[in-house]
């Protein structure tokens, strides 16, 4: 049997990896994937707490987080395509103006 703290530590490691990737990555798509990794880490702690307190609301919240993540992925990737079309680059250092 696995204690709750193990799940929380795994969730914290995933979230920390996501934050690190968000900070050190230069490619805009990789940064976006790091955000997805952070969302996954949070989802794991939601499910772990739902199991701990025998309350299903945590799993319903995971459902909502997934829907928001899907919407965010669709809009974010559309923005990435728009950025690439105007600047011809995916390097985040060269995207330093809001206006073209």
């Amino acid at each position: 049997m696995v204690p709750l703290s193990y799940y929380l530590v795994l969730s914290a490691i995933l979230f920390a990896c996501g934050v690190t990737g968000f900070l050190i990555k230069r490619n805009i798509i990789s940064i976006f994937m790091s955000i997805e990794l952070m969302l996954n880490g949070v989802n794991l702690s939601f499910v772990a707490f739902a199991a701990q307190w025998h309350n299903l609301s945590g799993q319903v919240f995971v459902f909502f987080v997934m829907v928001v993540a899907a919407a965010e992925a669709a809009v974010g990737l559309a923005i990435i395509i728009a950025v690439f079309r105007t600047r011809e680059t995916l390097n985040i250092d060269q995207v330093n103006l809001l206006k073209l």
Binding site: P3, A50, A51, L56
Partner: protein, 173 residues
């Protein structure tokens, strides 16, 4: 015991995938290791008795969202990213700060952790119970979510459309 073994194996795979995501320079390699992370997270959800969440994790995350990512990577022909060196201040302050935070969180987790455990299938994580909750208590958030998804679809179409195509359709219409 079986729980612990499964948790350790898939937790290790999960962390290895996450670290590989950071190390890889090419976005397509990062995307594939993210698929590994999500698939092993689905197993962790199964261990916690969340059957529905595990299925949705595989279908929505590892399926739909990652297909979108891989599609965009191939569409934009993303190459290897360039290397830059970070600032010295970030190294000097960041690593001690990170270590302090990690030690504090680990201490708090170990100090205040309960020991409740769930056998596989013992938790009422049945899809029927989940639906009961979703369509009664959380009905309003559920409906609001549908509006959010609708707006996201329209936003994605508007953002990804080429400016010339929009102009042409305006002239015709």
């Amino acid at each position: 015991m079986l729980h612990l073994v499964l948790f350790s194996v898939f937790g290790l795979i999960c962390v290895a995938g996450a670290v590989n995501l950071l190390v890889q320079r090419h976005p397509i390699n990062s995307a594939l290791s993210l698929v590994v992370v999500m698939a092993s997270l689905a197993v962790e959800y199964l261990l916690l008795g969340a059957e529905f969440v595990a299925a949705v994790q595989v279908i929505v995350y590892a399926g739909a969202i990652m297909v979108l990512f891989v599609f965009v990577i191939m569409l934009l022909n993303a190459g290897e990213e360039e290397h830059t060196t970070g600032s010295t201040v970030a190294w000097l302050l960041g690593i001690p700060g990170l270590l302090t935070g990690a030690i504090f969180v680990a201490w708090a987790d170990l100090r205040y952790s309960g020991g409740t455990q769930v056998a596989i299938g013992a938790l009422p994580g049945h899809p029927k119970d989940l639906a009961q909750l979703l369509f009664h208590e959380f009905l309003l958030p559920f409906e609001v979510t549908s509006i959010l998804v609708l707006i996201a679809i329209m936003g994605a179409v508007v953002l990804a459309a080429r400016p010339e195509a929009v102009q042409e359709s305006k002239r015709e219409g």
